[in-house]
């Protein structure tokens, strides 16, 4: 993309006010995650104050939990875990999904058939249940959680990539590349892939949001990494004491909503900016 078209892209993106808002929120969450240790130097697991302190109390602006841990610190440090898991699991899902989808879409025939049956299998399995089963069986840790989320999330990406590759493969510019003697790898990487990226990027940005939700749901069920403070864990731990301490579940929930919302908004903005169909209908 040259400078000019990136400016065009940015203008199209900025036209969507929600997307800009999303970007601002996301930047905030990112800052929080990056500088969590600066804002809250202590360990989020530390008992910072008395248990069950309501919000706005000393040493715990958003209240404390049953062990006197600072909710605000937990949220800041939880942002790291949430974003980290969201991004890495999406990257892993992309690696699996796009590879399989590209192979299926480009080669067609039995390769396509085999890959699509496999994909269908994974789409049929209720994905949250599978994630729960996988994490439970392989014991919760950051790695197993990321792997489980990736394993249940790749099929839509594979389908998307396959669809893109299939349609692009029959596009005339690809056929022109064939007739001008370019190699398969060059066709896949130089001709097709760059053109299939837009919808994949959009999906990926939405998938980060889904992954964050999934991680939080797993943690809520007690399937989080026991060494990582995460938002879902905080809500899960707060569930039983909601009568005594609403803030324990309220604020982490808000953090999740804002982050997921921001990612969705950005995703939509990307979609508007990258999807030429919409752009054309606007013009």
């Amino acid at each position: 993309m040259n400078a000019n078209s990136s400016w065009v892209f940015w203008r199209a993106f900025a036209r969507n006010k929600g997307a800009v808002l999303g970007l601002v929120i996301l930047a905030g969450v990112l800052t929080l995650a990056l500088f969590a240790s600066v804002f809250f130097p202590g360990d989020p697991w530390d008992m910072a104050t008395a248990p069950f302190q309501p919000p706005l109390s000393d040493g715990a602006p958003l209240g404390s939990d049953m062990l006197g841990r600072d909710i605000a610190a937990g949220i800041a440090h939880g942002a790291r875990v949430s974003l980290l898991i969201g991004l890495t699991s999406t990257a892993a899902a992309l690696a699996i999904g796009v590879t399989l989808g590209a192979l299926a879409g480009f080669h067609g025939g039995w390769v396509d058939d085999a890959i699509m049956r496999f994909t269908e299998l994974f789409q049929t399995i209720p994905n949250f249940v599978l994630a729960v089963v996988l994490v439970a069986i392989f014991t919760p840790s950051l790695t197993t959680i990321v792997a489980a989320i990736a394993i249940v999330s790749w099929p839509p990406l594979a389908r998307l990539a396959r669809g893109e590759f299939m349609s692009l493969r029959n596009r005339e510019f690809v056929q022109a590349a064939i007739t001008t003697g370019q190699s398969n790898s060059s066709i896949i990487l130089r001709q097709i892939l760059p053109n299939s990226l837009s919808p994949i990027i959009v999906s990926a940005s939405l998938m980060v949001a889904t992954a964050i939700l999934l991680e939080s749901s797993l943690s809520f069920l007690g399937l989080g990494d026991p060494n990582a403070m995460s938002w879902g864990y905080m809500i899960g731990a707060a569930r039983t004491v909601i009568r005594q301490a609403w803030w324990m579940s309220f604020f982490p929930g808000l953090a999740i909503i804002l982050t997921v919302l921001a990612l969705n908004l950005v995703g939509e903005g990307l979609n508007d900016a990258l999807n030429p169909k919409l752009a054309r209908s606007r013009g």
Binding site: D43, W45, M47, P51, L67, G222, P226, R243
Partner: protein, 544 residues
């Protein structure tokens, strides 16, 4: 939000120390009603149905075959053993009206009540006792097997006398006739059959004051009074209904709203307890668990450096605040232990080395070991694998991570599940874990097994999995198991408690308590060491 355990796992004691010495213990026999007189000032009324909770639903009510907590609570009303125990763990009559122990401590003679019948009308005799202890339980009940294997012979000189002759003296023998430890089963039904497959298991036949009327799986178990119970006029209640309520929140609601009048063990989440204690209609008690007397601790693998160094273990003990654990994690349930023996168990001695929270002492000990903090303040790294039995234990793990972190011991929490936990602990594949065991009223039954080196058995749970070995401790426990003179036993056990509290093979965390809530209308319940698991023959319901 979970129960520490859905079913209290059956922690049968493995191998207690062998006893050799004998002594005489004569217990004055009581006859007739065994009701403790505490609440007797009111006149009992007959009638009424008590509603309680059973959670989780037991697989069977045949107590000889299954001794999970819920099975005990329900089947304890159907089956009986020879004895029961008061809350100081002294034996009291149940099916045996009296008993004598020979001075050498080798012969135990029980006299049975003579008018006892099984629920099917057949008389209960010494033959049933011999069959139960010598045949049935030895076959199917590991804990009973360990005890009755100590018998040279078990005989019935007449229909109402049973004589147990031991190979070696074992004073804890008298603690082994609690209903779940040695339930009496009908010989005429089980003799010569495949015990586990006997169809009668579905319709349990005992001698107790209540009979099984109806069991709707997933809903409730209904017991009704046994009209031909051998104690005239008892039981008072028309029946007891145990409701299956799988959800914890619903259980507390059911108690709160008076739909059930009794909860026990882990029916309520610890965090519900403070709120429920203030309920005007409910009486709260942590008594009635003296027989099980659970003790929890940080189990430390002595095969791993630097955990083998007792200074390190002491540093851990100084680093943690057990009061915090009791108050914030268990919401006030439990007592802070001093040494290896639960304070409600016999021969407990508080005169031991005490570890109050003291970070400086902890750091000093670590310094002394040469474990200096690195740039990040870390002196050593250990892995803690919390017991996978629910949120409370998870929270404990989180607390430990923080508490130890403060003295420079970095903790990595390991997540595991019940099977994995069992496997890893049994095979010594852990660094630190949390654990709890029942003590069964006598150090020889439930304490020694954790610390004696004879019981270092790879692959077997609830043994000396730490790999702790101290010949002195071995000798003292062995002597204690054999010693028939209570005063001498006390001396032996006091010494072992002192040694252990200094060696600190494990770091004791909590003498766990279970909450029992009873509607104030329920009278005479929860009076013995087995509390809610007892027969309820004399429990009655006051009018509203």
């Amino acid at each position: 939000m979970t129960r520490p355990l859905p079913a209290l796992p059956l922690r049968f004691q493995r191998a207690a120390a062998a006893g050799l010495l004998a002594a005489v213990l004569a217990i004055p026999a009581l006859s007739g009603l065994t009701a403790t007189p505490v609440l007797a000032q009111e006149t009992p009324v007959k009638g009424g149905v008590l509603n309680s909770i059973v959670q989780p639903e037991p697989p069977t009510l045949m107590l000889g075959l299954n001794q999970q907590g819920p099975t005990q609570t329900v089947a304890g009303k159907i089956y009986q053993s020879l004895l029961t125990y008061d809350q100081k763990l002294n034996p009291m009559p149940s099916l045996a009206k009296s008993w004598t122990v020979s001075p050498d401590g080798l012969t135990y003679t029980f006299k049975l009540f003579e008018n006892v019948t099984w629920h099917d009308g057949k008389p209960f005799t010494a033959k049933d006792v011999v069959f139960s202890t010598n045949v049935f339980l030895k076959e199917v009940h590991p804990r009973a097997r360990a005890v009755f294997s100590r018998c040279e012979s078990i005989t019935a000189p007449d229909d109402y006398t049973v004589v147990f002759t031991l190979k070696e003296a074992f004073p804890a023998f008298l603690q082994s006739f609690e209903v779940s430890s040695a339930p009496m089963v009908p010989a005429h039904i089980y003799e010569g059959t495949d015990f586990r497959a006997n169809p009668a298991n579905a319709t349990p036949i005992g001698t107790g004051p209540f009979k099984l009327k109806e069991w709707v799986k997933g809903s409730h178990i209904q017991l009704v009074r046994n009209d031909s119970y051998f104690k005239p006029g008892l039981p008072y209640l028309d029946g007891i209904t145990f409701r299956v309520i799988p959800d914890a929140a619903s259980r507390s609601l059911a108690l709160e709203s008076g739909q059930v009048q009794q909860t026990q063990y882990s029916d309520l989440e610890p965090f519900e307890v403070p709120r429920m204690k203030t309920h005007p209609n409910l009486a709260f008690s942590t008594k009635g668990y003296e027989f099980v007397a659970p003790m929890s601790w940080l189990e430390i693998n002595h095969r791993v450096k630097p955990l083998d160094d007792k200074r390190f273990r002491k540093a851990i003990a100084y680093a943690i605040d057990r009061k915090f654990i009791r108050d914030k994690i268990w919401f006030g349930l439990g007592r802070i232990p001093t040494g290896p023996i639960n304070s409600v168990v016999k021969f407990y001695d508080p005169k031991v080395t005490i570890y109050e929270p003291n970070l400086d002492k902890a750091k000093a000990l670590l310094d002394e070991m040469g474990l200096k903090p690195d740039a990040k303040g870390v002196r050593a790294t250990v892995k803690i694998m919390p017991m996978p039995y629910g949120e409370t234990w998870t929270r404990l793990g989180e607390y430990l991570k923080q508490a130890l972190g403060k003295v420079g011991i970095a903790v990595t929490l390991e997540s595991t599940d019940a099977a994995g936990w069992s496997q890893r602990v049994a095979n010594w594949d852990y660094e630190i874990t949390t654990n709890f065991l029942y003590q069964y009223g006598d150090p020889a039954l439930g304490v020694a097994r954790t610390y004696i080196s004879d019981n270092i058995r790879k692959g077997v749970l609830f043994t000396n999995t730490m790999g702790y070995s101290n010949p002195k401790v071995d000798a003292l426990f062995a002597a204690g198991a054999r010693e028939v003179d209570p005063a001498k036993r006390q001396t032996l056990y006091s010494e072992v408690q002192q040694i252990l509290s200094d060696d600190l093979p494990v770091v004791w965390l909590l003498e766990m308590e279970f909450p029992t809530f009873l509607d104030k209308r329920v009278k005479n319940a929860n009076t013995t060491a087995i509390g809610v698991n007892d027969t309820y023959e004399d429990v009655w319901l006051a009018a509203k």
